[in-house]
Symmetry: C2
């Protein structure tokens, strides 16, 4: 199983993501439309800076009784996102990807210059293991 992780990667153009400076109403729209729980946050030089989820956005602005939707535009992604997101290099082993996926639904994959290459999901790791398990 210690083969390359390259063929498991969801490549960057298929990954829903936002930028640090995006307003929160834009980020909420991307999260709702994509249907994903959490997505990566990139900076202008295409490097991963963290992740953001619907829960982050809702927690940050949950006013008493009602969510003030009109305040969403005044905040930016970087104001509420989590800087903690697992990352690894595209040439590292499957064992490392497996270890990181224990506590994280997805792992960000980077190039030698730390630019974003894509993500590795628990689903793709479990599907590979199941194929080996059945043999």
């Amino acid at each position: 199983m210690d083969n390359e992780i390259k063929q498991l990667i969801v490549s960057d153009e298929k990954v829903a993501h936002v930028q640090l400076e995006n307003p929160l109403d834009h980020a909420l729209l991307i999260l709702i439309k994509s249907g994903y729980t959490a997505i990566p946050v990139l900076d202008k030089s295409y490097r991963v800076q963290g992740q953001i989820s619907k829960a982050h956005i809702l927690d940050s602005i949950l006013g008493i009784e009602r969510i003030e939707m009109e305040r969403l535009h005044d905040y930016k992604v970087k104001d509420v996102m989590s800087p903690k997101v697992p990352r690894m290099h595209k040439d590292e082993t499957f064992g490392k990807a497996l270890m990181l996926s224990i506590n994280h639904p997805f792992v960000c994959i980077e190039d030698h210059d730390h630019s974003f290459v894509g993500i590795l999901t628990r689903r793709s790791i479990l599907a590979l293991i199941h194929r080996h398990f059945e043999k």
Copy 2:
């Protein structure tokens, strides 16, 4: 690896869950407080009927511009939940749990009379595989 799944199960008293007839404001509170993306929905005889997530609740009442929080109490969990949730019997094999976890973050575990025993999470499956992988 084809050992019992019993020691991997998160037992029912540790699983955040709601009932079919609970109002949606109660369900949203449980989801936000627990921090979980989706949780099981049980009926009065403690059988799994589906699952509900914050996205289900937000999608169902997302009015134009603002989420009408006061309407939440008028709906019930059964009105917006998803009836699709993977389930298996507590005596079934690890292979079946692995297969189901490919496309589902958690699997509901049932007894011989279909009563709820607990859930099996991707995390516990990945942790077990990693332990075997390292040997």
